[in-house]
């Protein structure tokens, strides 16, 4: 029976339908706020459970898309309502449905004004994120991809910190500029092929000259989203000003849209241009890894440091993707999922102490481990996962990327590896300054211990990070066939490894 349900449509639009429930809440501010919180938690939690049925029904041996849905949207134009998931998009769908309820929990007490509107923004955001990952029509993909900006702009701008207006504008305009250039390329592709169906476009081979321009247009959009150096500057601002839950979703899911785009569009549709631009992307990514790690070292604001570390980690992702090797791409995918979990948790770590002392300055803390021992454990675990300790999900991704990078070029592998060292340096240094040492400040001494709600966010993320770290095949098996298809498509087009050394 379940087989016939439009499962992807349900998962995508369930949160949006939840908005109606939120609008129906009546009563004074207190009642509205409390009900809005719990209704949103129920809806997003339920959506996560529904999305698990994707995992159960997914056959990782099948090549191509599963749970496909097709309906006519614009007759006779080749533009249709088409959804489906493969091994590349499925993990992202689950990541989105998994992180959203946790983000709602994270904003339980932190958001105290305009709670209803806040929750509505989150529900809309979830619909847009999932919709983007399951769209198999380019126009639909673009609709969701771009519409994500609306709720995120409001979340940063209304509930953000002191410079929220600046950060919200910068975030919006940077990403919009990237995606409108992609739009022109989509128009050109549609004009040439007469369809916006992603599987059909993947099968079409574009001329080499056209691929060059198309790649550049899509690159403009995805590079801003990833974000790659030097278009990453919106990210630290957005992260610092966004509320904790906003940062969690931004780092956890939205940054993955760029990497996903490379895998869904750039590599399979423009293989020759991808090959041509791979050295450029390696160079930019290596700069991102080393430069932003160094910048992270110099930060005095915890959130900013983690934001810069995100740029560095996403540098690994772009390197992995453009090695065109099975290990590199699998590593990039793994790194994205792992970073989605770990960075969300790290931003929440900052949120936990921020809720208590209302500052993110590293110097304002010290000796927190003595006051909040359980918190210290989780923070350390996430910090080590971020650094890539074996046994955590972070290790698998980084190792696979390095293997892929080694196959492509020794130098790229070498420079990428230095990023690991730098990453360990700033994370450990951050941890030492915040957690260890004597408690010298009265505010730190009086910090409340961790609450059950906060535990409820850390525990599921930690479990996943550990499971993926110890038994990576769990995730790798899901992706393997889809990655193989990308590799096959590349080799059919004559793109092999980038000339090694």
């Amino acid at each position: 029976m379940i087989d016939n349900w439009p499962l992807l449509t349900i998962i995508t639009f369930l949160p949006l339908a939840g908005v109606i429930f939120l609008l129906m809440i009546r009563g004074d501010d207190e009642i509205v706020a409390n009900n809005a919180r719990s209704v949103t938690l129920w809806i997003t939690g339920f959506n996560f459970i529904v999305s698990l049925s994707l995992l159960l029904g997914f056959d990782s041996n099948v090549a191509g898309y599963q749970f496909e849905e097709f309906a006519e949207w614009l007759p006779n134009t080749g533009i249709n309502y088409h959804m489906g998931v493969d091994g590349i998009s499925m993990p992202f769908v689950l990541l989105s449905t998994f992180l959203t309820p946790l983000a709602v929990l994270a904003s339980w007490r932190a958001i105290s004004h305009r709670v209803r509107e806040y929750m509505i923004a989150f529900l809309v955001l979830e619909t847009m994120m999932i919709g983007m990952f399951v769209s198999l029509d380019m126009l639909m993909f673009y609709l969701f991809f771009e519409a994500v900006l609306i709720p995120m702009f409001l979340i940063i701008g209304i509930w953000g910190g002191a410079r929220r207006v600046y950060a919200a504008f910068k975030f919006f305009l940077f990403t919009l500029l990237g995606s409108v250039l992609m739009l022109v390329c989509m128009l050109a592709m549609y004009v040439q092929t007469g369809t916006t169906d992603i599987p059909m476009l993947t099968a079409h081979s574009f001329g080499t000259g056209m691929q060059f321009w198309l790649f550049l247009g899509f690159f403009a959009s995805f590079a801003v989203k990833v974000p790659m150096w030097p278009v990453h500057t919106w990210l630290p601002d957005a992260h610092v000003e966004a509320p904790t839950a906003g940062s969690m979703i931004l780092a956890g899911v939205l940054l993955k849209m760029g990497g996903y785009g490379f895998l869904r569009f750039s590599l399979p549709m423009f293989p020759h241009a991808s090959e041509l631009f791979a050295p450029v992307i390696f160079a930019l990514s290596v700069i991102a890894v080393i430069y932003t790690s160094l910048v992270a070292l110099a930060q005095s604001d915890m959130k900013k440091m983690i934001a810069y570390s995100s740029v560095a980690h996403m540098g690994f992702v772009t390197i992995g993707i453009f090695t065109f090797t099975e290990q590199g791409i699998a590593g990039a995918m793994f790194q994205m999922i792992s970073h989605g979990l770990v960075s969300a948790a790290l931003f929440f770590c900052v949120g936990v102490v921020y809720d208590r002392l209302h500052t993110r300055e590293i110097d304002a803390y010290g000796g927190v481990a003595k006051v909040m021992p359980r918190y210290a454990v989780f923070f350390m675990f996430m910090m080590l996962a971020s650094v890539g300790l074996p046994g955590t999900s972070g290790f698998v991704g980084e190792m696979l990327v390095l293997v892929g990078a080694w196959k492509a070029s020794t130098w790229v592998a070498f420079f990428t590896a230095t990023g690991l060292v730098l990453g360990a340096t700033y994370m450990l240094w951050l941890y030492r300054r915040v957690m260890f040492g004597k408690v010298t400040k009265a505010e730190v001494q009086s910090m409340e211990p961790m609450q059950l709600r906060e535990l409820g966010i850390f525990v599921p993320i930690s479990i996943l990070v550990l499971v993926f770290g110890i038994y990576p095949a769990f995730l790798l098996d899901v992706m393997a066939v889809s990655i193989q298809i990308i590799i096959d498509e590349l080799s059919v087009s004559g793109v092999a490894l980038v000339a090694s050394n």
Binding site: L139, L143, A147, G157, F169, V180, L183, A188
Partner: protein
């Protein structure tokens, strides 16, 4: 002489013209008070609805009347419906603000109705003579309503400026038309089209054509002929601005389409360059001009300049896809305009109209529902999917890319990012800032209704796009083949 066959295709226009004449009597003898003004307005609104029904019932048969000077087909029917909807919304929302500003006169609705007849004739114009008559019939009443607030210097200035520049544009149009006539030896669009198709074009004819296009560019306020727009938008009473922003643009755009695709259809290569230049200039000047504005009406003026630039980008493609794009763009545009002005008309503080962008501060707290409405309209104007504005952009730029005008499309989308900046500024005022001095509380029923309908259309545009495409496709095909 006139035959009954001549009257039938033009029945809605005839009907509206008769009602307008009747209303002259009502206005003259019905007393001078607000009651009479309301009566005239209600009759005018009713007449617009009836005219719309007549159009709807008129069917899609392409036909001409008055010796080919007037052409009625599904393209004109569609555009006229847009004009009628836009004018209805503007007129419907005007009553209570006019009352509050104490300029509620019976002449207002009457003049608007006459202008509507002019707009409808513009859409159907199929001859240089009827084109010019229609343009003037539309313009003259609008000059007067722009200066409606007789005790306000700004309003008088707006009327005067509009009149002077409008007269200049009419002169250009007329001069161009005379050159074109001199070449073609006929005033009918069909005749001109046949003449230009035969081959070599003298320079004088090209000059005439460019003059005509520039004359109409004045009417759609495309840069560099946009100078009157911000001042007239700002100076006119807000209900008049609402009307300017919505209906006449559609009519003038339809006229531009008929002239270029109809009369000059066979030489798209020649006029396409002119339209590309107008389009780029409008997009750039509209986008950058709007950034500096502090008055929301002035900002909307620049925004309309930019929007006309986008629409012209589709037109410049010179193809069926281009016409289709412009039709879809204009459809979204009138609803976005109507929805936005429903809120702008509400902006009052202590009974006086407040039109500074700063006045919107904290609107999301004091009037959450109106703020949501304006938020949706602004995101739609910025072209953010899945709202109506995005699909308009998608189709005009699709046509441009299809015609190989890729640099134009790139400039267009980049300018739309600049444009997003000032639409976001409105959202910022409403949502990110707080105010100590909120606006007055109420939105009249008429504005609520217009806002609700516009919101529904803008939000659900993607759902109805399939059937809209079908209708627009028929309209575009008739325009392309009728000549």
């Amino acid at each position: 002489m006139f035959e009954i066959n001549d009257i039938l295709p033009a029945l809605p226009e005839m009907f509206l013209a008769c009602v307008a004449l009747l209303l002259v009597l009502v206005a003259a003898y019905g007393g001078d008070g607000a009651v009479n003004a309301k009566r005239v307005c209600s009759i005018a609104l009713g007449a617009i609805v009836i005219a719309a029904v007549m159009l709807w019932q008129g069917g899609d048969i392409a036909t001409t009347a008055f010796s080919g000077m007037f052409s009625a087909d599904s393209f004109s029917a569609y555009m006229k419906l847009l004009v009628l909807m836009g004018s209805f919304a503007a007129l419907y929302m005007s009553i209570s603000p006019l009352e509050q500003d104490d300029i509620n006169k019976p002449e207002f609705s009457l003049l608007v109705l006459l202008a509507v007849v002019g707009m409808m004739l513009m859409i159907s114009a199929n001859d240089l003579m009827s084109l010019y008559m229609a343009v003037e019939l539309q313009s003259l009443p609008l000059y007067v309503v722009a200066a409606m607030r007789t005790n306000s210097l700004r309003s008088s200035e707006a009327g005067l400026k509009y009149f002077l520049l409008g007269a200049l544009s009419s002169g250009m149009l007329l001069y161009g038309a005379s050159l074109v006539y001199g070449f073609a030896g006929t005033t009918s669009f069909d005749g001109i089209s046949a003449a230009v198709a035969t081959g070599a074009l003298p320079v004088v004819f090209v000059i005439g054509m460019v003059f005509m296009i520039c004359g109409i560019a004045f009417k759609i306020s495309a840069a560099p002929f946009h100078m009157w727009t911000p001042d007239v938008y700002e100076g006119s009473p807000t209900p008049v601005t609402a009307l300017f922003a919505i209906a006449p643009k559609v009519a003038a755009m339809a006229l531009m389409m008929r002239l270029t695709y109809g009369a000059f259809g066979p030489i798209a290569v020649e006029w396409s360059q002119v339209l590309v230049a107008l389009s780029i200039a409008s997009m750039v000047i509209g986008a950058f001009g709007a950034i500096m504005q502090t008055d929301i009406k002035r900002m909307m003026a620049y925004s309309s300049i930019a929007h006309m630039g986008y629409a012209l980008a589709g037109l410049a493609a010179g193809s069926h896809a281009g016409v289709l794009g412009v039709i879809i763009y204009m459809t979204g545009y009138i609803f976005m305009g109507a929805g936005t002005f429903a809120i702008i008309l509400m902006m009052r503080r202590e009974g006086k109209s407040a039109t500074k962008i700063d006045d919107l501060r904290g609107l999301s707290k004091t009037h959450p529902l109106f703020a949501i409405g304006l938020l949706v309209m602004m995101f739609s104007m910025a072209g953010i999917p899945p709202l109506a504005g995005f699909f308009g952009k998608w189709y005009v730029f699709l046509a441009a890319v299809n015609a190989g005008l890729i640099p134009l499309a790139v400039i267009g989308v980049v300018m739309s990012v600049v444009g997003a900046f000032y639409y976001l500024r409105i959202i910022r005022m409403m949502y990110f800032e707080d105010s100590d001095d909120p606006l007055d509380a109420d939105l009249p029923m008429s504005n609520r209704l217009v806002l609700t309908v516009s919101l529904a259309v803008v939000l659900l545009f993607f759902a109805g796009l399939g059937s809209l495409l079908g209708t627009a496709d028929i309209a575009a095909t008739t325009l392309m083949t009728s000549n």
